[in-house]
Symmetry: C2
Amino acid sequence: MATTDSTIRPRGTARDRILETAYELFSRHGTRAVGVDRIIAECGIAKMTLYRNFPSKDDLILAFLERRDERWTRAWLQAEAERRGATPAERLLAIFDTFEGWFAEEDFEGCSFINVMLEVVEHDHPVRQASVEHLASIRAYVRGLAEAAGVGDAEGFAHQWHILMKGCIVAAAEGDRRAASRAREMGALLLAHHGVAG
Amino acid sequence: MATTDSTIRPRGTARDRILETAYELFSRHGTRAVGVDRIIAECGIAKMTLYRNFPSKDDLILAFLERRDERWTRAWLQAEAERRGATPAERLLAIFDTFEGWFAEEDFEGCSFINVMLEVVEHDHPVRQASVEHLASIRAYVRGLAEAAGVGDAEGFAHQWHILMKGCIVAAAEGDRRAASRAREMGALLLAHHGVAG
DNA sequence: ACCCGGCGAGACAGACCGGTATCATCGCGG
DNA sequence: CCGCGATGATACCGGTCTGTCTCGCCGGGT
């Protein structure tokens, strides 16, 4: 193998430790509020090591968004939806059941894709574009479920479902602890409107 | 009158010119992206004059949010809803018709209350709290319309309606130009579910 | 044995930020 | 006519940010 785990390094490569720390800090406090100095201080790594692995802070943010997609979107949200629901319609509604527990967490951090998209004001900035693309990939998952549920206009349905998701996430950030069930109720109405049995 | 308009000052008091410039810049580019240096440069006013009228930048942001409430929420959104709709239910739906034109604007700036709330991470920061309160005042207006429309749980209805509003604003920021009509359709479903004739 | 590359530590540069201090000027009221 | 308060212009201060540079260490392959 290339590298053994018996090295002095506590866990994984330097790059991975940096990305792991950045993930924690960026997701909890935002990418603008966290500086590179804090990241290197909290994972005990040299600044040059960070800049050798990531040419700029923006590149680190892009890697963070990618990891957020892997963990939050796929390994958590999609996995929970599939675990909780058997049919496509059940899985769509299970998204909001999953959100309910998420919103109740002590340190609810919100949706990083929305947060980053809104805090980067330049319309053609790569970090903003990446956030928009990651949001689109969430919507693509919803669209897949809608198609499997037999919804006619799956694309339009996915956009509407995503509006419910984003709206209740913002409401939760605002302090509404029942935002998930409120959105779920509207989701059920939307499913019924498309002739899907709830 | 206290002051004549024949003074050298082009328009209004210094405080008002500062707030006017800050309103334009903050609403279009965000409060963090715009520094006080840019504000004073663009309205041709001395820095000390700004700090004599507003003790700190945060105070200026609070005044900006107040003006945003006056202009955007009351003078624009509520006025448009009342102009376009005759009945409470029509006025609720007219919110999304009004949004449609807003989203289509070249320099669509999004909802400043959402933007500021999400960019200020400290939970007890006065600027964040003010944003949350301004959002609540929008919801209170929706609640009033819901009560007038004869909705049973007007408070819960208002929270749901507000989720649709916030969700489609975020979707519009993402680039979805049909976000308003998508939300309007769900609004009609919600009204029908509460037994209100659409 | 030796060197070399990755690494930690920290100083440093250059830019920008919010906020303060100074000084000349100008309008207006007494 | 004189003085005073508000203003404009500008320099300045301390802090923070991203990103660069240097130095010394250490471990592993040849």
